[in-house]
């Protein structure tokens, strides 16, 4: 489904640009400051929603439209419905650009889009789900590969999580609403983008490295444990906040237990690549996949740590968390999706990737940019958190203190955006392109073997 991928990479470039603008505002607050439509409070939801839905969700859907039929040994259930899904989804995203910039918002994180657009997203998701389940139920390969479990899980959880976070939440107020809001925000990452990202990684890692998956059993434990554990943790966004202790404790316990599913995934991915690191060195796709795996591990070790009461008292509400969120969505799940796009686009267009070298440069720009981003915000955020806990330091001093870290962050934004533009250019040239292209990307069997 080239249209999904095409539209997702367009939004990737746009919203990464918006991200850079936002980072500049922390260095020069006056920068484009007097333009109502471009104030921080309106660009931020555009950046967040644009990346989550316009880029990542769309790219994931595009990739699943590709890999689900291959894993099932048949064709996509309905190509037409697929096209309708893209069309509707893109309309929603364009509408979202307008509503966020004009300041129309529901005022809830990740749920800023107004009701009409929420309905659009839901419909698009139903179309998507019908198509995916249609394909799976009419499959030729009887055995269900782990990517398909995650895909099915994601279709169902996304529906439930999205409806809670965008519709049901409107009937609640105050702390009750906040609890539903964090339930949604947290599970949007954990039960929408995680399973979609893992479905993609479980598919492409064995293929790209041309080895069977390390352990089928582990992948099974991982899937069932994440589906049970993840959903309990939303309240860890309000540790020390105005909610009951028992709910905080439950959220903390389950957050710590999340290490189980994460560990199974990590062992499985590294186990698959074990002894084949020479292939990673040569292939930018594998680099993205394995760097993504590493960032996934780090994110998921940070998460449980943040939820502990003592650590939370330092890092909560600081830029540390912003670094953490970017490592999850950019470092892990976007890297998986980028790898998927680099793999699939050549196959879809029947050409070699325009330039493997360019893809390699994309990787290094994003990797270095990402690391500068994460590390500067961790250090800065952690120290700011310590300063906040000393009430004798005036607040504004803790803001001034962040300046060098924010400058570093803006610089990393330039690198990341540059990487994004190279990625875009590379794929566009592959799609539309002149016949050129240096080497073949690894084309393995379309179904990964399980050991």
């Amino acid at each position: 489904m080239r249209w999904f991928i095409l539209s997702s990479i367009v939004f990737f470039v746009i919203t990464a640009t918006v991200g850079l603008l936002l980072s500049l505002k922390f260095v020069w607050p006056e920068f484009m400051g007097t333009a109502k439509w471009l104030t921080f409070g309106r660009l931020r939801p555009l950046h967040v929603n644009g990346i989550l839905f316009g880029w990542l969700l769309a790219a994931d859907m595009g990739l699943l439209f590709y890999l689900v039929p291959r894993l099932c040994g048949n064709k996509l259930w309905s190509e037409k419905l697929g096209l309708m899904t893209v069309g509707l989804f893109d309309l929603v995203i364009l509408g979202a650009v307008y509503t966020t910039l004009s300041g129309q918002t529901q005022g809830l994180e990740y749920a800023e889009l107004p009701l009409v657009l929420d309905v659009g997203v839901t419909l698009a998701w139903v179309f998507f789900g019908v198509n995916i389940f249609g394909t799976i139920l009419t499959r030729k390969h009887k055995k269900i590969y782990v990517s398909l479990w995650y895909t099915m899980g994601a279709v169902i959880w996304t529906a439930a999580v999205y409806i809670t976070g965008n519709f049901l939440v409107m009937f609640a107020t105050g702390v009750n609403q906040a609890n539903l809001n964090w339930f949604y925000v947290h599970n949007a990452v954990g039960l929408i983008f995680t399973p979609l990202g893992l479905a993609i990684a479980y598919y492409f890692i064995p293929l790209a490295v041309r080895e069977p998956l390390y352990s089928h059993k582990l992948s099974m434990i991982g899937f069932w444990s994440i589906s049970f554990i993840y959903v309990w943790t939303g309240a860890h966004h309000m540790i020390h906040g105005p909610i009951s202790q028992w709910l905080q404790t439950v959220a903390i316990l389950f957050s710590v237990m999340l290490i189980i599913p994460v560990w199974t995934v990590i062992v499985n991915f590294f186990g698959t690549v074990h002894g084949r690191w020479d292939r990673v060195r040569q292939d930018p796709i594998l680099k993205f996949l394995m760097a993504g795996t590493t960032f996934y591990l780090l994110t998921c070790l940070q998460g449980p740590m943040h939820s502990l009461r003592t650590v939370n008292a330092i890092v909560s509400k600081t830029d540390w968390v912003v670094g953490h969120a970017h490592m999850a969505v950019f470092g892990a799940f976007s890297f998986f999706a980028i790898a998927g796009c680099l793999y699939v686009v050549p196959l879809l267009s029947g050409r070699k990737l325009h330039s493997v070298k360019l893809a390699d440069n994309t990787f290094w720009l994003m990797m270095v940019g990402g690391l500068i981003y994460f590390v500067s915000l961790w250090i800065g955020g952690f120290m700011q958190g310590l300063q906040w806990n000393d009430p004798s330091i005036p607040f504004i001093d803790t803001v001034r203190f962040m300046r060098p870290f924010w400058i570093a962050r803006a610089f990393s934004g330039v690198l990341i955006l540059a990487g994004t533009i190279l990625f875009f250019y590379n794929l566009i040239r592959t799609f539309g392109g002149t016949a050129g292209g240096e080497t073949t990307t690894a084309v393995g069997t379309p179904v990964p073997a399980t050991a």
Binding site: F26, P29, E30, G33, T34, K36, T39, F40, G41, R42, R44, G103, Q104, T105, G107, L108, F133, I136, L137, K143, I144, L148, M152, G153, I156, W157, A160, T164, A172, T173, G174, V175, N176, Q177, A178, N179, L180, F183, M220, W224, S227, F228, I229, Y230, V231, W232, H240, G241, P242, I243, V250, A313, K317, V321, W388, D390, P391, F395, I396, V399
Partner: protein, 181 residues
């Protein structure tokens, strides 16, 4: 038994949904039934006026809540830092928020917490501050909001300030009642 799941899509789907529902119910539906304070406004609180609601809508529209939290957590540092003129800020209670839809608890403190800011500054301070925060607080990264000051013949500004001045007032926490207008 698990082995069968490898071949049966229906069971995977149903299982995934059931597992999810257990946690979802216990962490979202149960607390709103068991915690009365989540749905009953704090005693002595009043509903927002028309004007304050319009002000809150501006707070929502301009994304103030991305940079400001409104919650004094159960941490001593919070109560000290967000108190003013020598009086510590009282810790936030769930009942204070019941009239807020959307809620404005926030997650990020690019700027200070605002839960107890009502009455800390007077109108003219806010006017200058919204127009350009750096005129009052050099080094601030709060965006300038000149249009809030000028739009609708200054009505937007009045509404927003009216809302800001309500924050924390339910708790009536100043011993000398020294709230600014």
């Amino acid at each position: 038994m698990f082995h069968k799941l490898d071949f049966n899509a229906g069971w995977v789907a149903v299982g995934a949904l059931l597992f999810f529902l257990v946690g979802a119910t216990l962490t979202t539906i149960l607390p709103q039934m068991s915690e009365a304070s989540w749905t009953t406004p704090l005693e002595g609180s009043r509903a927002y006026s028309e004007q304050e609601l319009r002000g809150k809508a501006i707070y929502q529209r301009e994304g103030c809540w991305y940079c400001h939290t409104q919650q004094i957590r159960t941490l001593e540092a919070d109560t000290k830092r967000y108190g003013w003129r020598g009086v510590d800020a009282p810790i936030s209670l769930p009942g204070e928020y019941v009239r807020d839809a959307p809620h404005v608890l926030g997650t990020r403190r690019a700027g200070p917490d605002l839960a107890r800011v009502g009455g800390k500054y007077d109108k003219s301070w806010h006017k200058t501050h919204f127009n350009n925060p750096r005129d009052l607080v050099p080094g601030s990264v709060m965006p300038p909001f000149p249009w809030i000051v000028t739009d609708n013949g200054g009505q937007d500004l009045k509404n927003l300030i009216a809302y800001i001045q309500t924050l924390g007032r339910t708790r009536d926490w100043r011993p000398d009642d020294d709230y600014e207008e």
